[in-house]
Symmetry: C2
Subunit: 337 residues, 2 copies
DNA sequence: CGGCCTGGTGTTATCGCTAACATCACCGGC
DNA sequence: GCCGGTGATGTTAGCGATAACACCAGGCCG
């Protein structure tokens, strides 16, 4: 009946190594003034006991945790989900644990409550994935004093923010179509209150303006393939439509399907470009030319911004933008003559 | 130049309420032996100071954290992502924070490392989402002594496990097709090393056996729409195929598309059923009849199992199964005569 | 009416760590 | 040869909570 002895503590390591617990602490924190030989003895003792520092004790005395709180919507949309996943990975590599507070809807109260829960946890910093305007508004309520970074949020707001350069990506996509010879490019847009969607509209329009092309009416949709399909059914009936830039890949999928049903060949009669580069995009028929946001880069920038705030309390450049890249596949061709 | 004073501690509350800090602690922990009047005074003081207990201090003395670690693959597949999201919500409601350790691939080393990171954090318990055999194997390495629950894992292993009853769902789906009058049902299966896929195959086969229907050859695929499309192209060419049960909705989508391209009408010539009930399924053409796993229920069972282990050290019934429900839409009809 | 239980409260020790200061040996400079 | 500096280590005092025990006032019992 062996009693489960408690986890080894610093003093146990100290005793085994024949030093004081403070020296063990110094070794753990890479303090310079420790003799090499001592350091090795301590490290050996740590390994022998399978010692792991008690974070609660450390947090208690330093007043800081190694926890980052993330507030994200309870959705499975590709963009936000990928972002979250990338951030968790980046934070993990930097030695931070990530605590995710899910929220059903991105409104003021829910976000405020999630932020409160994180503050209860005494997280070192908070990341809010706030891709639409209601979420961005909610941030006004967040008390200052907690390092906070917004991702995908409102570009017009003053809080530290990291975003993909939607406009640049959309510009490039549209430009690709123009350069292929299309007179103009139609756009199937995402929900108007999403910043990502707005940025993409802006880039699309800028590209058309840059060559003085006519700007066709905007086709509004949500993010779903279903709404893309409906938009596509309309566009397919219009012979003058030869190029469509969709605000995301799912919309593009719907458009592809509508075109195919109506017998309009992609890319030979109509070219289509998407945004996101979802994993399936390469298997669409035809494989979809699209814009790939670098979620890993966004995650790293976000973490960097947050860590700066945590250590300095301030950030020099509280706005970071990550450029997406165009992925050329087979859904773009010159227009039929 | 006002100095930022530190957060209020229990003693501050005690002083304001005119009691000892221990009484404050009693109020916080709902200890019975506190006079109602005292309780109210303390609660008022707590509110006035916006006091929040320091979890690190509590964890230090109790030896327990309110943190649950989750190990999940860094993927955006609908099933695992939904599960994770549901679990985060359930745990949040129970007052636990969830720390997610993402893993690129579900192999032994990665999972072991993620589990180690969580143990470093001194999580109260660990949940591993282990949907395929390599992940399940890795669990053999996890040291005992940490409360651990596997989700979607290997049904043949002894560890506490929560799963959706894949076989039952598949049985029901297949039975629906048989009852509609189809002589047999074809199956497009997910990856063979995924337990979900295996369970669905099993249920499909059982349903066919139950009416002594002929078991057609299994069509293997991965989880993607692309592979469903390829499978569908094959099936569409075979006039004897009138009913197809797909291992998930994306596969079904691919099959639908292949059927439509080949002019085989769904559901009048071919019936199709999926699994997962992804949000878009209702917008497929035609709206897809599918099987909906109750992710929220899985999350709750998982949490329950974990909490039992945390408090008792043991669990009476370390295996929980959640029955999925059939969602009838418009992709099933009697076979053509 | 004294002893004992019990409900409400306070006092003290303790968790495992880091910060701050104390100590001590050794060094070089005047 | 004494003194201040410096590098390596030890000692002590908290951080903010809970646990364990001490205490005191009443009520009930015999």
């Amino acid at each position: 009946m062996e009693k489960t002895s408690r986890d080894p503590a610093m003093t146990d390591v100290a005793r085994l190594a024949g030093v004081s617990h403070q020296t063990v602490s110094r070794v753990l924190n890479n303090h310079p003034n420790v003799r090499e030989q001592t350091r090795l003895r301590v490290q050996a003792a740590i390994k022998e006991l399978d010692y792991r520092p008690n974070r609660a004790a450390r947090a208690l005395v330093t007043g800081k945790t190694q926890l980052i709180g993330v507030v994200a919507q309870n959705s499975t949309l590709y963009g936000p989900a990928s972002l979250l996943s990338a951030f968790e990975e980046a934070a993990g590599e930097a030695g931070f644990a990530v605590s995710v507070g899910r929220v059903k809807v991105l409104d003021r109260d829910s976000i405020a409550a999630a932020v409160e829960r994180h503050r209860d946890q005494r997280v070192a910093g908070i990341v809010v994935i706030a891709p639409n305007s209601s979420a961005a508004d909610a941030l006004a309520d967040v008390p200052a004093g907690v390092p906070l970074v917004t991702v995908d949020g409102d570009p017009d707001r003053a809080t530290p923010l990291v975003t993909v350069d939607q406009a640049a990506g959309a510009f490039e996509a549209t430009k690709l179509l123009i350069d292929a010879g299309h007179e103009t490019v139609w756009h199937v847009a995402g929900p108007a209150d999403w910043f990502d969607a707005a940025g993409r509209v802006q880039g699309w329009r800028a590209a058309l303006d840059s060559v003085s092309a006519e700007v066709p009416p905007l086709v509004s949709a949500d993010w779903s393939a279903a709404s893309g399909y409906r938009a596509g059914q309309m566009l397919a009936r219009m012979p003058e439509v030869t190029a469509v830039f969709c605000s995301n890949d799912h919309l593009a999928l719907g458009v592809l399907r509508a075109m195919s049903e109506r017998g309009r060949k992609v890319p030979h009669e109509v070219s289509v470009v998407g945004f996101d580069d979802v994993p399936e995009a390469a298997y669409f028929i035809p494989p979809l030319t699209t814009v790939r946001p670098d979620f890993a880069a966004v995650a790293h920038e976000t973490l960097g911004l947050l860590l700066e705030q945590i250590s300095d309390g301030e950030t020099a450049r509280p706005r970071r933008t990550v450029a997406p890249t165009l992925v050329r596949r087979e859904s773009v061709a010159p227009p039929p003559r």
